[in-house]
Symmetry: C2
Subunit: 563 residues, 2 copies
């Protein structure tokens, strides 16, 4: 299929995506159900077989720059060594290859690039089961979550980024005949040509927890706007992005483009290459998801590039008088348990008035609220099948360490437990802990404590809770905030605080929507308006700076200026 | 008139602007002719009277932060001391006032802000004659140029920025009812509210040569997206921006908004405040036009802000075999003379093959081409009325100094002359100089020599000329490039080079379009793709990062998740 035919092939889906980013109504092009009915009878078995075949072998990328292979050293949080070897390449190798690949990709034009990026996505989607295993065994997500968040939901975010970028590029006319009246003289007539050109070489620095979901927006936004992309995965989660790179390269090659438009740069924690890579003068775009320390370093030091970061934040919930505390407890039990709190959207600080709250006709003391949350989590995780399906495994030793240290920070309202996984004996599975602390412990609650740890912070009253939300998020940033209140006035105050500190707010969630969920084509993930992230997924600001317009003016009729 | 009525009042014009930014066909909403028929019988006299009244007096801004007045010390390049005193304020004063003004402006919403910004523009337009005098006597532009570039053309650029910003903000729905199917269960129904919020305090650092034309895009793009704006004019060109600030404040006050949404911060070269101001944590957006040294400093040091710069570049023209050399000579004579070469778009380096060119049936040696350009300029400026109307006056002593030193850099093909202005005896008027240099003098042609100086660079051949364009612009940046050639092949090569180095190209201009002219709503001024500027006027990248979206989610029907 020719590369322009690919645009036609995917045009109908693109049009739907273009509508969705403007209405932001519910829309998900890639089915989230890991079902044979949707993905084909053989898809689950094929996916597992493909994953098993990758383990303990060489992950070839034909034509990739560099020489030899290197051990990825990935170990699954479920206790399995993946043993995959990847192409070894230097920063020079991938940067040179990317530069060489740029001109023909730039000259291919907006439609061809868009069609090809959508074709890559379609092929990724078809292999969602295979991706699910790679995501599960690098991040520690449960299989279903790895399928959904690592597969279709990540693909949704990719298409969203493509749609935003296409929309901005397509808004630039390719040509116009410009006619300026000259009084009694004939008009000045100029043909103008406008060409979308990329910024240069793009880099995506991956994260260990959501390598595809957080990586795809940058990869596809940069690629569709004409920039070759170097993918530098987190050393603990290489395989999902390596597979992405492979599929992208195959698709590009088949269409006659240089596969080195998308390359893979594997490193390990003992010899990290991201600083060297991201400060190269050729690199003009960097997308990063990960901790604040390195994100801030990139923002400060990559002055030659446009840097998009999603870093850590300190998410908050404020609990005011609220009748449906059972619903709140159920909802928050899931929220805290999901992927063992290892989401950048999981709440960390729960601000509760020290004198407690009214729950309809009842009064709950601070300790009653703590007890309610603790028992809700215990009940929710009491069903082992559900527990393993929701918790997944803990991705890193550092998170286990933080969890083990958290108990010393205050009074433990809920102990974390280590669970024995029925299928993977070496899996690291932990339930969340809740720790009560005083409202004066800014030293604790103003820092990110990533993982299954939540602090229940005793405040003077709800006004103080909201003030602490303002201070904490204003100073440290956050990706999500929540409020529970029966008072419209309190809800309005919470909205006002959240607008001031630039954080998305969820109000009174008691059912099937969770504060840590963010749906592509509708929810802006992060805002870019506080310290947790300097960009949102996805808005026009995320894409508009990835390309420039170069104009050529050629006169058609050019009478002399009136003298 | 209520502030929402202002949106209705200007809606028809806004709609035309929204169309124009997509077609980029010729469109200019503000008439460029300084004509009584257009602006009213009394407009020219009223404008002069208003300007005269401002001279030697206190420029009041009621309610402006700070205390007392300070001498602006502006001296017209036409030899007149303006003697205007401006409100004295500290960085603290204006930053605090801006922060206080922010919330109600944010909460006013997109339409109200857009209507008000357009009303400010309408009032500025009505006073274009007054602006013309202020621009003329700060920048040294001739009266007609000051009227056009400082008045309607600057207003065009402002409306263009408003239209881009409105387009991006209006693309964010204010609310959506999001319904996600839940299989056999009732759908999850969530009301989502999306609010456009500003980044924070914005600063516009003005330039001495085009204070309004270069200042307005940033001022209006930041203001319409909700950011209070602190205007820090160049010490030599305060009055045009002070008048802009006054009109903005009056309009905002009348509509019930805090006038401190737009403030003026005057400094002088001995005690500059821009570094202190632009690095304040509250400042989230900086727009700068001026020299590379300070522009680069801002980019490197204002880590807390989004920084938009238009700095200096080294613009180039390549002359290949070309039949209509007379047309070329006439065109370039105007180009080099216009505002004495003090435009950021004026070509500096003219690359010419050392063995000359074919001009139809004739052969012109390198020296013949130099002579042709020199005599074209002499002839063009031989008409004194035209000369003074085009040249204007030299804005700064530094430019005179560069001009006087330029002769020593090579062989002078055209001497600069000092002309005696018929109306302003102390005006500093200089004609352009042309200096021949060898192709090995990168030390000369790779540096900006701002002012009425052009270097005629002898190259091996046209291929070498284009290679030198690539190297020079690739390394140093440029805002414009031109080529003269009868060969489609050479033109294609020039386009390819210009796409590589990200510079706008004008081809074979011989009539009434000049390489240094850039029309709002059609020409992208600068590209942001090379070292001369990190942003273009105007595209979506110029506006999209000036605001963020904060979301609130409130469940309507929220059945429990399937368990």
């Amino acid at each position: 299929m020719s590369s322009s035919a690919l645009f036609e092939k995917h045009k109908a889906l693109l049009d739907k995506a273009l509508t969705a980013i403007r209405t932001r109504d519910y829309w998900s092009p890639y089915p989230e159900s890991p079902s044979k009915r949707v993905y084909g009878e053989e898809a689950p078995a094929d996916g597992l077989k493909a994953f098993d075949a990758m383990k303990g072998g060489a992950f070839d990328l034909p034509g990739h720059p560099g020489t030899g292979m290197r051990d990825g050293k990935e170990r699954s949080p479920y206790g399995i060594d993946l043993g995959v070897f990847y192409p070894a390449a230097t920063v020079d190798d991938v940067v040179s290859a990317a530069r060489e690949a740029l001109p023909s990709w730039r000259d291919a034009g907006v439609d061809v690039r868009t069609g090809l990026c959508m074709e890559i996505l379609a092929r990724i989607n078809a292999r969602s089961f295979e991706f699910a295993h790679t995501v599960m065994h690098t991040t520690g997500q449960s299989f279903v979550m790895a399928f959904q968040a690592g597969g279709p939901h990540a693909q949704d975010r990719a298409l969203e980024a493509i749609a935003y970028a296409y929309s901005e590029m397509a808004a630039v006319p390719e040509t116009v005949r410009w006619e300026k009246p000259q009084g009694k003289n004939p008009p000045l007539v100029i043909d103008k040509f406008f060409k979308v050109v990329p910024r240069g070489v793009a880099v995506v620095v991956g994260v260990a927890t959501f390598p595809t979901w957080n990586g795809y927006p940058g990869i596809f936004a940069s690629l569709v706007t004409g920039n070759p992309v170097i993918v530098k995965p987190h050393p603990a989660a290489i395989l999902p992005l390596a597979l992405t790179v492979r599929i992208a390269r195959e698709t590009l090659s088949e269409a006659g483009f240089d596969p080195n438009l998308v390359t893979l740069l594997v490193d390990d924690p003992d010899a990290p290459v991201a600083k060297d890579l991201c400060t190269r003068t050729e690199v003009k775009i960097v997308d990063f998801t990960g901790g604040s320390a390195f994100g801030n370093w990139l923002e400060e030091n990559c002055r030659q590039a446009q840097v998009y970061t999603e870093k850590s934040g300190v998410n908050a919930i404020a609990i005011d008088d609220f009748a449906d505390v059972k619903g709140m407890g159920r909802n928050l039990a899931y929220t805290f348990s999901l992927y063992s709190g290892q989401m950048c959207t999981t709440p960390q600080n729960v601000f509760i008035p020290k004198n407690g709250i009214k729950a309809g006709d009842d009064r709950l003391s601070f300790d009653d609220v703590a007890e309610l949350l603790a028992s809700s989590i215990e009940k929710f995780l009491g069903n082992p099948e559900r527990a393993f399906g929701v918790l997944g495994a803990v991705q890193s030793d550092a998170t286990v360490q933080r969890l083990e240290n958290a108990g010393a920070l205050g009074e433990v309202a809920l102990e974390s437990k280590a669970l024995q996984h029925p299928e993977f004996p070496d899996a690291v599975v932990r339930t969340p802990t809740l720790v009560k602390i005083g409202g004066d412990r800014q030293d604790i609650y103003n820092q990110e404590c990533f993982g299954p740890v939540a602090f229940l912070v005793a405040t003077e009253d709800t006004a103080d809770s909201l003030e602490k939300v303002r201070q904490s998020i204003g100073d440290n940033g956050a990706i999500t905030a929540g409020v529970y209140s029966d008072s419209q006035d309190v809800i309005d105050q919470a909205r006002s605080v959240c607008e001031d500190v630039g954080v998305a707010l969820s109000v009174n969630l008691t059912g099937g929507l969770f504060v840590n969920q963010s749906a592509a084509f509708s929810d802006y993930h992060a805002t870019g308006a506080n310290a947790a992230a300097n960009a949102a997924l996805c808005d026009s600001a995320f894409v508009a700076n990835r390309f420039r317009v170069v104009e050529t003016r050629i006169p058609v009729t050019e009478p002399a200026a009136a003298e």
